[in-house]
């Protein structure tokens, strides 16, 4: 049984269409990602899963429940990590978790054990008595993840879990999420970090302006939707000296010129006439696919 079914879902806010006919499925035990620029409708989709946002039309099923009718069952069985930090700043780390354990109706003793376990898992044990104001951004994020795991959820929903965090914390969180997946959890996340999506997700969908543009395994998306190699020429003046006119896709973005090809040799040939600091030859990645499908202009 799929953990999440989203079928022809629309969401409009008065004049604005945030989500336009999006469908996808997340299988049990799968790690699924929604990748898209700001304002693409990712968060709206996530919030509709637990009825924080009401859908305008379409059907949604999460763990077998319709969020519009049974939000409590879904929220009881899922952990949700919202985009904003919303910890109780007046309470210490442990009490924050105690208060939430009580929301789920956990018995005092079970709650204590679970809190101990989770603080340990997210490497926050030493901060048990710390006030929220004393925590770094990365610690707060980890605490919110711990909070979402209190009730031993089957599904973890994460809305941009690592936005604004430094690489060390980001990698730590990635490791923890991978461990959770190993334990059998279904995970769903939104992000605009390509590397995050590439590293974590079994499958992902690229959403843009409220619609799903592409879907698949990250590696397949890179293989199937973009040439294997990219030659980036940083100085436009340098590219002006190029005389090459072969079957290579060329893109000009402000001061940079990009050549795409499945053959590295072709690109090397082009780069041959340039001095070393002027170009950068690399394998293409998810970011190239993302920019190709969602366009290079700002989405603001």
């Amino acid at each position: 049984m799929p953990a999440i079914i989203v079928d022809h879902v629309h969401k409009s806010y008065e004049e604005f269409r945030a989500v336009n006919d999006v469908s996808f499925r997340v299988e049990t035990g799968e790690f699924y990602g929604l990748l898209g620029p700001n304002g693409a409708g990712k968060s709206s989709l996530m919030r509709m899963l637990y009825n924080k946002t009401e859908r305008t039309s379409g059907t949604i099923e999460v763990l077998g429940f319709d969020p519009a009718r049974d939000e409590l069952s879904i929220k009881y069985l899922s952990g949700i990590v919202p985009q904003d930090d919303n910890l109780d700043v007046d309470l210490d780390v442990e009490t924050n978790l105690q208060v939430y354990a009580n929301f789920y109706g956990l018995a005092a003793r079970a709650a204590r054990e679970r809190i101990h376990e989770l603080l340990d898992f997210l490497e926050l044990s030493e901060k048990k008595r710390a006030k929220i104001r004393e925590l770094s951004g990365g610690m707060r994020r980890r605490l919110i993840i711990a909070r979402a795991l209190l009730n031993n959820p089957q599904l973890l929903i994460l809305d941009e879990p690592t936005t604004g965090l430094d690489p060390q914390v980001r990698h730590l969180i990635w490791d923890k999420l991978r461990l959770l997946k190993k334990q059998g959890l279904t995970l769903m996340l939104t992000t605009h970090y390509m590397e995050e999506a590439f590293q974590l997700c079994d499958r992902l969908a690229i959403v843009d302006r409220g619609t799903k543009v592409l879907e698949g395994k990250p590696i397949d998306l890179v293989k199937g939707h973009i040439e294997a190699y990219v030659l980036e020429i940083i100085q436009r003046e340098a590219s002006a000296r190029l005389t090459y006119q072969g079957p290579v896709r060329r893109e000009t973005i402000q001061d940079r010129v990009l050549f795409f090809s499945d053959s590295a040799a072709e690109l090397e040939a082009i780069a041959g006439g340039l001095s070393p600091g002027d170009f950068y030859l690399r394998q293409s990645n998810l970011e190239d696919v993302f920019l190709k499908t969602t366009g290079r202009s700002l989405h603001e």
């Binding site: 924080k52 009401e54 077998g64 069952s73 009881y76 069985l77 904003d84 929301f103 789920y104 109706g105």
Partner: protein, 259 residues
């Protein structure tokens, strides 16, 4: 399908109430001291100053007349602050509700639990005033102890009303209007500082419509004093006001919290 062991709604409401108790008691000193100090200052001011000029009112020493009302104005103020500024900060700045909505709670659970906490706080504040009054020998009748349940209800009323107001407010400074134009006048025109019979005939009915009058009248009646509008109307008002305004407030808050 419905085998998910979600806590019952009283349990959920109680868990929200408990959250507020934990937050409130986390800074016990700064939260629990003012309700005891405020009546002290008031009594000192009246006793040393005003009380020398006004000897008696409605047949009792003025300080005693005023004391009855003060038990409940403290509940009114604390509830009004709790569910205007307090609720607004939780809603817009700290995003506390967003987090709680991610747990197995509905918006109704959040708001009902919060109002229940406000009412509890009102009962606590009324108790604090009564304790200070007792120290000065101003609790002259055991009927004054009705101030505790009435403090609970007063705070329930003003909490619900404040929450309804908050559901419309988008700028925190707008609460100043509510306090200046509504709450402050109530202090003077609800039978707290002078008897309602002193109000001109033409506007006396107004006092019968606004909320604070009713618990104050009930407490005066319980303490052996005079009630202008009659105990029955006062009770009916209280019993209807809390659920009706509370229901409207919860509905409106849901619109703020679910998009």
């Amino acid at each position: 399908m419905n085998s998910v062991p979600i806590p019952s709604w009283p349990r959920r409401v109680a868990s929200v109430w408990w959250r507020h108790v934990r937050v409130y008691s986390s800074s016990l000193f700064s939260n629990a001291l003012p309700p005891f100090v405020e009546p002290l200052i008031f009594l000192a001011g009246i006793g040393l100053g005003l009380g020398k000029y006004i000897v008696s009112m409605d047949g009792v020493p003025y300080i005693q007349f005023l004391a009855v009302g003060l038990v409940l104005t403290s509940s009114m103020y604390t509830a009004s602050f709790e569910n205007t500024f307090g609720t607004f900060i939780r809603l817009e700045f700290d995003k506390v509700y967003d987090g709680m909505q991610a747990a197995s709670l509905t918006v109704r659970d959040l708001m009902v639990g919060e109002l229940l906490f406000t009412a509890t706080k009102g009962a606590f504040f009324a108790s604090a005033v009564l304790a200070i009054l007792a120290c000065f020998g101003l609790v002259t009748s055991p009927g004054m102890l009705w101030g505790i349940p009435l403090g609970f209800l007063t705070a329930g009323m003003f909490g619900a009303l404040a929450m309804l107001v908050t559901s419309f407010v988008t700028n925190i400074n707008h609460f100043n209007f509510y306090f200046t134009l509504f709450i402050s006048p109530l202090f003077f025109f609800s039978g707290v500082v002078f008897p309602l019979s002193q109000l001109p005939e033409g506007v006396r009915w107004l006092a019968g419509v606004v909320p604070l009058t009713h618990p104050v009248e009930l407490l005066r009646a319980a303490a052996g004093g005079h009630s202008e509008f009659g105990v029955v109307w006062n009770l009916v008002y209280l019993v209807l006001f809390v659920p009706l305004v509370g229901w409207a407030a919860v509905r409106r808050m849901r619109r703020r919290l679910v998009s």
